[in-house]
C-alpha cells in the first residue's frame, strides 16, 4: 500500500519543525497542511480531539500526535534511513531524558522571556541561559547530541534556534556570548538541508511574536 502522509502543522511551531526535520532527514514524502490555529480545520479537530493541537501526522488515515511521539514513530517505521534514536536501550534512555529536558524547560521558560518584563523577564532570561548551559555541558565536545550525526535530541532542540533572535531581542541579551558552543552546534545543524529548509527566518519569528503579543494583549 502506498504510504499516505499528511502533516498538520504551523510554520512557526518548534514542535512541528521537529517532525518536518525528521521526515526530511529520512527523505520521506509528505503533504504539508498549514493550520490556522484561530480557526482549526475539521480534520485537525477530528484527528486530535483530545488536545486539538498541531503537529499531527496522519499516516494512511491514522493520526499520531505529540511531536516527540511522532518523531519516535517515524524513526521506528522508517528505521533504515538516518536513524535518530540510538539502537541500544541505555543511550536511547539518555536521549529520551534530554529530549524531555528540552520539552520541560526550553519552551516554557523561553515563552516567559517574551511575555513578561522587568524583574520577571530578567529572571526568566537567567533561567533560560542556565538551561542552555546545561545542554552545552551535555553536548561536550561532540559535534551533535546524537554523537557523530544528528539524533533525536538535536531534532528536538534545533527548532528553537529559529526563536533565539526573538528571545534575544525581547530579553535584551545575547545567546552567542553566553553559550558559544551551543551556537556553534546550531550552525552545524543548519548545514543540513532537512534543518535549513524547515527553520523559518528568525526575523519572521520575531514579527510573529510581536503580533501574538498584540493579540494576547501583552505589551
Amino acid at each position: 500500500m502506498a504510504n499516505e502522509l499528511i502533516l498538520l502543522d504551523t510554520w512557526v511551531s518548534p514542535f512541528g519543525m521537529r517532525v518536518r526535520i525528521a521526515l526530511r532527514e529520512k527523505g520521506i514524502k509528505f503533504e504539508y497542511k498549514e493550520e490556522d490555529l484561530t480557526n482549526k480545520s475539521d480534520l485537525l479537530l477530528k484527528m486530535n480531539p483530545i488536545h486539538k493541537k498541531i503537529p499531527v501526522l496522519i499516516h494512511n488515515g491514522k493520526p499520531v500526535r505529540e511531536s516527540g511521539i511522532i518523531v519516535q514513530y517515524v524513526d521506528e517505521v522508517w528505521h533504515d534511513k538516518a536513524p535518530l534514536l540510538p539502537s541500544e536501550p541505555y543511550p536511547r534512555a539518555q536521549a529520551r531524558f534530554w529530549a524531555d529536558f528540552v520539552d520541560k524547560k526550553i519552551y516554557d521558560t523561553g515563552r516567559k522571556i517574551w511575555t513578561t518584563k522587568g524583574d520577571e523577564q530578567k529572571s526568566a532570561t537567567e533561567e533560560f541561559i542556565g538551561y542552555l548551559k546545561t545542554l552545552e555541558a551535555e553536548l561536550g565536545d561532540k559535534p551533535y547530541f546524537g554523537g557523530e550525526k544528528l539524533g533525536y535530541v538535536d531534532v528536538t532542540m534545533i527548532p528553537f534556534y529559529s526563536w533565539f533572535h526573538a528571545y534575544e531581542v525581547s530579553g535584551n541579551f545575547s545567546i552567542e556570548s553566553n553559550c558559544p558552543k551551543l551556537m556553534a552546534w546550531a550552525k552545524r545543524c543548519m548545514q543540513h538541508e532537512s534543518v535549513s529548509k524547515t527553520l523559518p527566518d528568525p526575523k519572521k519569528v520575531y514579527e510573529f511574536i510581536l503580533q501574538l503579543k498584540k493579540r494576547l494583549g501583552i505589551e
Partner: protein, 219 residues
Amino acid sequence: MAEEVILLDTWVSPFGMRARIALAEKGIKHEHREEDLGNKSDLLLKMNPIHKTIPVLIHNGKPVCESNNIVQYLDEVWPDKSPLLPSDPYLRGQARFWADFVDRKVFDAGRKVWATKGEEQKSLMEEFIGHLKTLEAELDGKLYFGGEKMGYVDVTMVPIYSWFHAYEVSGNFSFESHCPKLVAWAERCMQHDSVSKALPSPEKVYQYVLQLRKRLGIE
C-alpha cells in the same frame, strides 16, 4: 556479569510506583532504597544532578531518570517477561500518547488540587475528574488500556489509585459515582501482586496529604 539494579524512590510517589510495578511484573531482582526528599542522599544527587528527583533506576551503576523513561527502558532491556509496550509502532505511538496524557493532564491536575482550597480547588477537582472521564472513554470496554493484559498506560496510570481515597475525603465526593468503569479497571489491576504490593495503603496516603497541606500552609 550479574545484573545490579537499584531503585531510588519514596513510598508515596506515584512516579516511583510505576517503576516498582514494572520491575515486579518482569520479576527483576532489585534493591529498593527509600529516599528522604528533605535530605537527599549523595547517591541521588550524583545520579540525577539535573532534576534531583526520584525515581532513579541505577542499572549496573548507570542511572536512568524520569518514571516513564525508566519503564520504557525496563521494557526494552527485559522484553521477554510481561512486555508492556506494544510491538506495533502505531499502537506504541498510541500507548505513548495516553501515557503522556496521564502525565500532563491527570497527574498535573491531581497534584495542583493539593496546593489549593475552596473554589479554586473545586474547579481543579472538576478538571481532574474530566480527565479521568476521558481516560474512561479510551478504555472503552477493554479489560486494560493494554488490551487483554496490563500495559504501559495501565502501569503509568494505576499508581494514582492509591491517592483516590485522599481526593475523595478532601473533596467530599466519590470517584465511583463519576467514573465507575475506571474504578473497576483500577480494582482489576490491584488483583495483580505487582500492583497491590507497589501501591501504599490509601489511608497512609491520606495522612501524608494532611501533613503536606500543613507544610504548605494550606490547612
